[in-house]
Symmetry: C2
Subunit: 263 residues, 2 copies
Amino acid sequence: MENNLQVSLYKISQECLPGLSIECVILGYENQQLKTLVFKFKGELSWSLPGGFIKKEEDVEEAADRIVEERTGLKSLYLKQFHVFGSKNKSYDQMGKYPGQLDSWMEKFGLGENQELKDWFSKRLVTIGFYALVEISEQRPEVDPIFESCEWISVEELPDLFLGQNETVKKALEHIRIQLHYQPVSQALLPKKFTMSELQKLYEILLGKTLVRSNFQRKMLGLDFFIRNEKKKTGSANKAPFLYSFDQEKYQEALQQGIGLRL
Amino acid sequence: MENNLQVSLYKISQECLPGLSIECVILGYENQQLKTLVFKFKGELSWSLPGGFIKKEEDVEEAADRIVEERTGLKSLYLKQFHVFGSKNKSYDQMGKYPGQLDSWMEKFGLGENQELKDWFSKRLVTIGFYALVEISEQRPEVDPIFESCEWISVEELPDLFLGQNETVKKALEHIRIQLHYQPVSQALLPKKFTMSELQKLYEILLGKTLVRSNFQRKMLGLDFFIRNEKKKTGSANKAPFLYSFDQEKYQEALQQGIGLRL
DNA sequence: ATTTTAATTTATCATTTTGATACAATAGTA
DNA sequence: TACTATTGTATCAAAATGATAAATTAAAAT
């Protein structure tokens, strides 16, 4: 295993651009909570966002797609770059809860003497942040061999992440909240069919405030890109809500125009 | 001169992160046109945005400030990063109108044999784009020694820029137009005191559409962060308009909240 | 079968905002 | 003193919004 790791790290150091990394905040919505996908390092207590390096002959956007797929098995996410984290202090060695982490890792995995590898991975990191919104129940993340496990954790309850990635998550959320007012990206977070209540709850969580139900519904349906489907019989003692889906054509058209939502 | 250039390029290759560059779109507003500051290379026909590299021990944001100051003499601009350009094809050698440009340059400046330099500068470039908004009349750009001259050119009439930077400008404008709806950044582009007509004209140019005068004025003044100053006597045969300025305190407060402008 | 419950959908209405237009004010000119 | 061009303000119908109430209806309880 250590040997595999060594090979894989060596390959990265040969094939990828040094000092420039990608971190992905994959957000999902479940049990009325906004969650992000984080990974636990083998034999460590610390958690990390899925991330990686850009190959020398690969567009940055391609790299983000590949990295997410390698780490999580998730394909065709709509990844959007949102910020460059360029602090001079960011590196595997200096940041996070465990300074000097790199050394102990290298030793642990029997890479202690490989100075070339160590040099490559101890460089200062400039990081490009991407985010994606996914519907959790539809996604079955697979765990990359370098990690032990992965978990969807509520953004409110994230532990301290590797490399100061809590800031990455925070910044991604800021971006999404602003974005929401002129490009309602909600489609990505919801199942294909959903009720207005579910949509409203999502907005409330993203915006961090409660909305009046009847007015929310009026505004949303007024946007005129929802299709009303059959009712959803929930099994509870109340009127069954309609299921809605996005009218792709109208939705895309509206996005082009820009949607001025006042919520 | 060639020697100076060689020293300066050598210094860059020693001190800076390889393969990661910054480009700055400095926008100003003059004669009812949105203009951007571009530079002409010594002895070349081609134009370039001010740009440069990030020092190994410098935050990316610091680097942007420094680069703008070195190239233009302009200080304390509010530079905002807006996009990473990560095409695998971007490099001094491969992009733009003049492929193979690097070789001819190196030779021209007597750097032909310096393989180390050549290697450094022929790397693939990932570029972080920044923009700033300035009031042209208040700014006196100075020209960096590596350039021959600089000029404010209307974004509508830009020539082909170095390294495909026309895309950089285009993307910056897209960002600003969206930004304008929730963060009226207009302050930066206008003189301290301005008339409502001037403000309106600026909005019309940024948004690319005409607006109804009376309604525009009503909305703007309704935002409640303008101070009405003395009148501006223009010398023309008509009612003299009031001059307005930003109430800094209220303006900043409003920016924090986020401004939902429907125009 | 009928009533009750709880959530959804639709309706109502006063208030605010918007778009379009008209009108009034005024610095300079003729 | 009247005229011109532009600015500042007012007006008003239409649309959007916020707050609340009423009607609807699956499922459960009686």
